[in-house]
């Protein structure tokens, strides 16, 4: 997400699921749609059947998507940037990129500060300041673009200046030779060549290439840069904004997109507004001063004022900055999942709500994480079943009498027992109706949240510290049973004076006359009787599949974002077969909602030249960012570093792993195998299976699913099994510096040894769905996984670490 926003302006899938059918080549890298997003395969299959599309799968394991692929190439976990950089090099050095597109719609021609430099010996960009523990913080001054006296970006339209972005990229990725890439990634040069040639054939007007990714890309210490590498490749190929193209982030849960839209991440407010910090943004004026100076984000003060107005209603006035003061501010600390657990381990966290989240299976370094839970005074688990989290106090090997934490388990309603919206990966916000009444005493989340808040408010009525933000909070979803529709209307936004629902975020104001809970959703519930998110009309078959009358996609019902790029600067569709938007000489003819200025308020048309200059409206630069000057902590271009735990020295530079990541090691959560530790000779990775879902708490309590995939296993190659003297089904113990897992060995042709820098290398894989509760139990793979993560998002490096494997006693399943 961070990588997407840093390239295109929005942290979301650029296209949508059904649009997969419009692709000519699909790469699934770090994604396994056949197993984890089975419905996606229907549309990929449609593309293959109707367009002769090719599916390329790049994954350490021959998974079920690989079984469907035209080209399958194994890759060593954590080396995606090497591969993608190699493809960039192939495209740039062989003129395989889409020149007209790149020149018009990306920042390829922008000139960068003359002080810019990449030190390819030490693997650092200019501006690096290294602290004593080796962590690098960058001063991004030398990464900035040159501007002329009028403040306009300096460009080289010919793309020849050595300081222009395209030339800087050419130079940077020239080091990513086919040999270097294939040696690093553990693939043959022929395989690399095949992938590069097949995909780069889409760098043309009439071809569309699509890249799908998921957690295999993001769960890395350079995850944001992995995404950036994909984004850059897609910009070079001219694959952004077009049908059948895009960078399509496949979310791991049905409503992850919706939850991040609603500010699940600690450093966001709803609609991806940055969360204010106490130091920099003590007042609303200060916060608004940080508003970007160009691009659509210049409207941010309107969205902020409207959000505050929706939160504090009548109490929020222009005179009191709409109660901005009441908004809790962030301190300077990181508050992501791992940091919360490190703080918990230190006894700094008193209580935890684990709401639909099974942290005792899902998070990394579980031995430490489960110990940390015991430092809590109280723990509230809200879930369908007793999760490992809810039952951490009586887990195997623990004496319940030693645990002082008070634990509450609130029974929650399942998705079909409640109503509300779910926003899918393609940003479609779809209303779901309740199918059945909740079982027993279980309640829907809104009911629980409503009761909880009302109880808190009652406590504060007797007085308390900072009572006003609670007492005056606008909380009007019903006196008894809260209404999901009322919440939806608040999110959609209203004009304050008459309470009328607003048609979209363009109507929002910064003067307190409008209220809106989440600006990007605005318009999805404009008509209370027939809200767009409840629309269910399909397109006629044969079209591009925009389905504009099926649900509502944020923003403004746009299905493929940045869709100005689907046509050339004059407005002529690049591919006449896939005309998403087109200028017919007088007017725009659209099969999607334009993601650009196309019509004036008076209904007159805006000519294509105007929008051609501003195809990425969210970016201050107005272009797709091949080069990102400031929003990421670890560089303007992706550079290959090894995973933190790796068997191999980085051959690209002396810098072993991402210099900008934080390994706090607080409370020894951050244990890691030092480079060269002979005790851990194998690469290890984790993954998911079709039959189970996430921490498995729903699927391991569903007999039909458990029947198909009852037990935890460790998957290893026939060659490693032979080396270890292990037969299929024999128990093995996998160990890392953090823990051990014992399970039967799945000796399989799906896992193969790969050759890395001339050395036969074994990769061990395991699913992470099991735990000690429910009907089907087994060791959690996350007993092994490391507690450090991406430089920008702090997403843990679940996918690449080192381990040892030994024969254990006995054969068959190990149940806990």
């Amino acid at each position: 997400m961070a990588g997407l926003a840093a390239s295109f302006g929005r942290g979301a899938m650029t296209n949508h699921w059904i649009d997969y059918k419009n692709a000519d080549v699909v790469i699934a890298i770090g994604a396994n749609p056949a197993e984890n997003h089975p419905m996606a395969m229907r549309w990929i299959d449609r593309a293959r059947e109707e367009r002769g599309a090719k599916l390329i799968v790049i994954d350490p394991k021959f998974n079920r998507t690989a079984a469907m692929a035209d080209i399958y190439v194994p890759i060593r976990p954590g080396t995606d940037i090497a591969l993608l950089g190699g493809i960039l090099n192939y495209a740039l050095s062989n003129d395989k990129y889409f020149k007209e597109y790149v020149a018009a719609y990306t920042n390829a021609s922008f000139l960068v500060d003359p002080g810019v430099k990449f030190d390819d010996v030490n693997g650092l960009f200019s501006g690096a300041a290294e602290s004593t523990d080796g962590q690098v913080k960058y001063d991004t001054k030398s990464w900035q673009f040159q501007k002329d006296a009028d403040g306009k970006y300096k460009l080289d339209a010919k793309l020849e200046d050595p300081l222009c972005v395209l030339q800087l990229m050419k130079k940077h990725y020239a080091r990513y030779t086919p040999k270097m890439v294939s040696d690093t990634c553990g693939m043959t040069e022929a395989d690399f060549q095949k992938v590069a040639e097949t995909f780069c054939a889409t760098g043309k007007a009439d071809k569309a290439g699509m890249i799908l990714y998921a957690m295999g890309i993001t769960q890395s210490t350079h995850g944001s840069q992995n995404v950036r590498a994909i984004a850059i490749l897609q910009l070079l190929m001219g694959n952004i904004g077009i049908p059948g193209g895009g960078v399509n982030a496949q979310r791991g849960e049905s409503n992850v997109q919706g939850s991040t839209d609603m500010a699940l991440l600690y450093n966001n407010l709803p609609g991806y507004m940055p969360y204010p910090t106490a130091a920099a943004h003590p007042t609303l004026a200060k916060y608004n001063e940080s508003t970007p100076k160009a691009g659509y984000w210049t409207n941010r003060p309107k969205f902020m004022a409207s959000m505050l107005k929706s939160w504090w209603g009548a109490a929020a006035t222009k005179a009191n900055d709409f109660c901005y003061e009441w908004l809790p501010k962030l301190d300077a600390r990181d508050h992501t999942h791992m940091s919360i657990f490190e703080a918990m381990g230190q006894g700094e966290v008193k209580g935890l709500f684990a709401w639909g989240q099974n942290v005792a299976v899902g998070g990394p370094n579980q031995n430490k994480a489960r110990e940390a839970l015991a430092k809590l005074e109280y723990l509230v688990a809200v879930d369908l079943f007793e999760t490992e989290t809810a039952g951490f106090w009586n887990r195997p090997g623990v004496n319940p009498a030693d645990i002082k934490t008070e634990v509450f388990l609130l029974p929650a309603a399942a998705s079909f027992e409640k109503q509300g919206t779910v926003a899918n990966s393609g940003r479609w916000i779809q209303w779901r109706w309740k199918a059945v009444e909740p079982l027993g005493e279980s309640k829907d989340d809104l009911w629980i949240a409503d009761r909880l808040f009302k109880a808190i408010k009652k406590e504060y009525a007797a007085g308390g510290v900072m009572a006003d933000p609670i007492l005056k909070l606008n909380w009007s979803y019903g006196d008894d049973e809260p209404s999901a529709e009322k919440v939806a209307m608040e999110i959609n936004g209203t004009t304050v004076a008459d309470g009328k629902l607003v048609p979209g975020f363009a109507s929002l104001k910064d003067d307190g006359t409008t209220a809106c809970g989440c600006w990007i959703f605005s318009g999805y519930y404009q008509d209370a009787d027939k809200p767009a998110c409840k629309n269910r009309t399909k397109d006629e078959p044969g079209g591009l599949g925009s389905n504009l009358n099926w649900s509502f996609a944020w923003p403004a019902n746009r299905r493929i974002v940045y869709n100005r790029c689907a046509a050339d600067p004059a407005g002529k569709p690049w591919d006449p077969q896939r005309p998403l938007i087109a200028w017919d000489g007088e007017k725009w003819v659209n099969k999607d909602v334009p993601d650009f200025g196309w019509k004036n308020a008076d209904g007159s048309m805006i000519k294509p030249e105007t929008s051609a200059a501003n195809p990425f409206i969210m970016n201050a630069e107005a272009k797709g960012l091949l080069w990102n000057a400031s929003s990421l902590k670890d560089g303007p271009l992706p550079e290959h570093y090894e995973p933190v735990e790796s068997l191999f020295a980085n051959k690209f530079s002396k810098r072993q792993f991402n210099p900008a990541i934080t390994i706090s090691g607080k409370g020894d959560f951050g244990q890691r195998a030092e480079f060269g530790d002979k005790n851990y000779p194998y690469v290890c990775t984790t993954y998911r299976l079709t039959e189970h879902w996430q921490s498995g708490i729903m699927t391991r309590n569903t007999p039909w699913l458990g029947e198909m995939m009852p037990d935890m296993f460790v998957e290893l190659s026939e060659s490693l099994a032979a080396k270890l003297g292990v037969a299929n089904g024999d128990r093995v113990t996998v160990s890392t510096v953090r823990g051990e897992v014992t399970a039967p060995a799945m000796v399989s042709a799906r896992m193969k040894a790969i050759k890395v820098h001339g050395k036969e290398t074994d990769v061990v894989g395991m699913p992470w769905h099991w735990g000690y509760k429910g009907m089907f139990t087994g060791d959690s793979a996350n007993l092994l996984t490391p507690h450090f993560g991406d430089a920008n998002t702090n997403i843990p490096e679940f996918k690449a670490f080192v381990c040892n494997v030994k024969r254990a006693e006995g054969t068959g399943p190990v149940r806990r």
């Binding site: 056949a34 089975p38 469907m68 029947e707 198909m708 995939m709 009852p710 037990d711 042709a749 799906r750």
Partner: protein, 263 residues
């Protein structure tokens, strides 16, 4: 019109939605299973698992190959099971489904022996066991719905329709993409034709389909044996007692086996 299903194995990705949908619609319980190297589970079809996706991973033409084969009753055009059913419980219905009438079934298991695809399964755990198998969701298709497996398949790998139409579809797919498909519709001619048919992209011995069945309809030769029926009937009483004893012993052995496995 006689209905059927066309299963396009090139489209199956092994998600097993069909396997679960079958159990859900037909109210079949989960069986006790254990870790299996190929993902196939349960290991075999049974009275409680009517459709099973069988996984097979191998090296083929120097590449890793995984095949996923959905197996179930093929609903033969001339069912061997029907021809040997002494209780008259099994019937090839007009709509193409081969069904077992549980009220008539005496659990003699002749059908189990006769079926070239080992489909009808015995309720080993019941006091009065019946034979069980896929009904092509007879109740659903009689109401104009698709079978549960076909309705749930995200890939559209399981087509349900008139057998004649499905044959046309299958032929068209092969004609359109000769490199992708084997030039063989499994079930078009096998055992005289089956209502459930398959397309495959790889040789059948790499799938769970049995390539070694004759094209001749099984009843053509079972009937020769069944002409002896009047003489056989007298023996049925004796045989039934024997079978009951055998099945009881087998159930006990299985129960012991489960205990040993710690299940």
């Amino acid at each position: 019109m006689s209905k059927g299903m066309l299963i396009d194995l090139t489209k199956c990705m092994g998600c097993r939605g069909c396997q679960v949908a079958c159990k859900q619609w037909n109210d079949l319980p989960a069986e006790k299973t254990s870790y299996n190297q190929e993902f196939t589970n349960p290991q075999n079809r049974s009275a409680y698992t009517w459709t099973l996706v069988e996984f097979h991973t191998t090296t083929y033409e120097e590449k890793t190959l995984s095949t996923f084969t959905k197996t179930q009753c093929l609903h033969c055009e001339h069912p061997a099971c029907e021809s040997v059913c002494i209780a008259g419980a099994i019937k090839k219905q007009e709509n193409g489904a081969v069904t077992i009438d549980a009220d008539k079934c005496i659990g003699c298991r002749y059908c189990q022996v006769a079926c070239p695809f080992h489909v009808p399964k015995y309720q080993y755990d019941k006091l009065f066991p019946k034979m069980q198998k896929c009904t092509m969701c007879f109740d659903r298709i009689s109401s104009g719905m698709k079978p549960a497996c076909a309705a749930t398949c995200p890939q559209g790998a399981i087509l349900f329709g008139d057998r004649e139409e499905l044959l046309k579809t299958a032929k068209a797919r092969i004609a359109k993409n000769k490199t992708k498909y084997l030039d063989h519709i499994y079930g078009e001619h096998e055992v005289g034709g089956t209502a459930v048919m398959y397309l495959s992209g790889v040789p059948l011995n790499l799938t769970a389909l049995n390539p070694n069945v004759a094209d001749e309809a099984v009843p053509n030769f079972t009937w020769k044996a069944m002409k002896q029926l009047p003489f056989l009937l007298g023996a049925v009483g004796v045989a039934s007692v024997g079978l009951l004893a055998y099945s009881k012993r087998r159930t006990d052995i299985e129960a012991d086996q489960r205990k040993e496995d710690g299940r």
